[in-house]
């Protein structure tokens, strides 16, 4: 499955469109990460726990989008975009969406 955030896949031609595919996941932080973040809030800098949490969530959301595209018979997803939103207390939603296509 080829992913691209451009409208076409560079070097290939789109022969069929299957429509919009999406994948999302909602993740909450656990207490351990919260405590580390609380300490980091004093000196500032990167919150490694949160970075990894969001990266894993993004991978999962992307994987769900790919699975949906595969079920339609597509072999590529173009114009992939991401959205991160803070939903409830301590929970973030990762949303990935794109257009499933067949490329040659």
């Amino acid at each position: 499955m080829i992913l691209s955030n451009t409208e076409t896949v560079p070097g290939k031609e789109i022969v069929e469109f299957y429509g919009v595919v999406t994948g999302n996941t909602v993740r909450a932080k656990h207490v351990g990460r919260d405590i580390m973040a609380g300490l980091k809030n004093i000196v500032g800098g990167e919150l490694v726990g949160y970075t990894e949490l969001l990266q894993d969530s993004r991978e999962e959301a992307t994987q769900r989008m790919i699975t949906q595209a595969e079920s339609m018979g597509a072999n590529a997803v173009v114009n992939v975009r991401f959205a991160t939103s803070s939903i409830a207390q301590g929970a973030a939603e990762l949303f990935a969406y794109g257009t499933a296509v067949l490329v040659r």
Binding site: P10, V80, T84, Q89, A92
Partner: protein, 152 residues
């Protein structure tokens, strides 16, 4: 005596935060020098003499938090308005770090350039306090990594 503890935290935050920030900027500059020759475009149209081999998605992200000292200064700034100069280096670091991670990952996976690079910012809210207050800011850099059949 009662405001001694927050004052100590403030002083610690200032010194440790400044040292960490300077070290991070040095690290960023060194890594940027290493990927100087890797093309990153923010648009889709490719130069006409580029022949694309394969393509894939490249992402890089970082979540940063504000230290206590910066937040106190920003709170004071909020009274009179204007540029909050204490936040600017932090967001600059976060953006450059996210871009570097995207480029380093693309390079590691064997790609030659990144096109249509985008930067997105999201605010993460606190879990206590009903979502008021910011726990961190996430910077996401993503683009399409391509391999080129012609090298220069």
């Amino acid at each position: 005596m009662n405001f001694g503890v927050p004052f100590i935290i403030l002083v610690v935050a200032y010194f440790v935060g400044t040292i960490l920030e300077r070290r991070h900027f040095d690290d960023i500059r060194r890594r940027e020098a290493e990927v100087k020759n890797f093309p990153v475009l923010t648009f889709e149209t490719l130069p006409t003499d580029w022949q694309v081999g394969s393509a894939g998605l490249a992402t890089g992200s970082v979540v940063v938090s504000l230290d206590y000292f910066k937040r106190v200064i920003a709170g004071l700034r909020a009274l009179v308005g204007g540029r909050i100069k204490t936040y600017e280096p932090l967001l600059d670091r976060a953006r450059r770090e996210a871009m570097l991670r995207m480029v380093e990952r693309a390079k590691r996976e064997g790609y030659d350039a990144v096109v249509n690079a985008r930067l997105e910012t999201s605010r993460l809210a606190n879990s206590r306090g009903n979502g008021k207050g910011t726990a961190g800011v996430e910077m996401l850099a993503f683009g399409t990594a391509i391999t080129l059949n012609k090298r220069w």
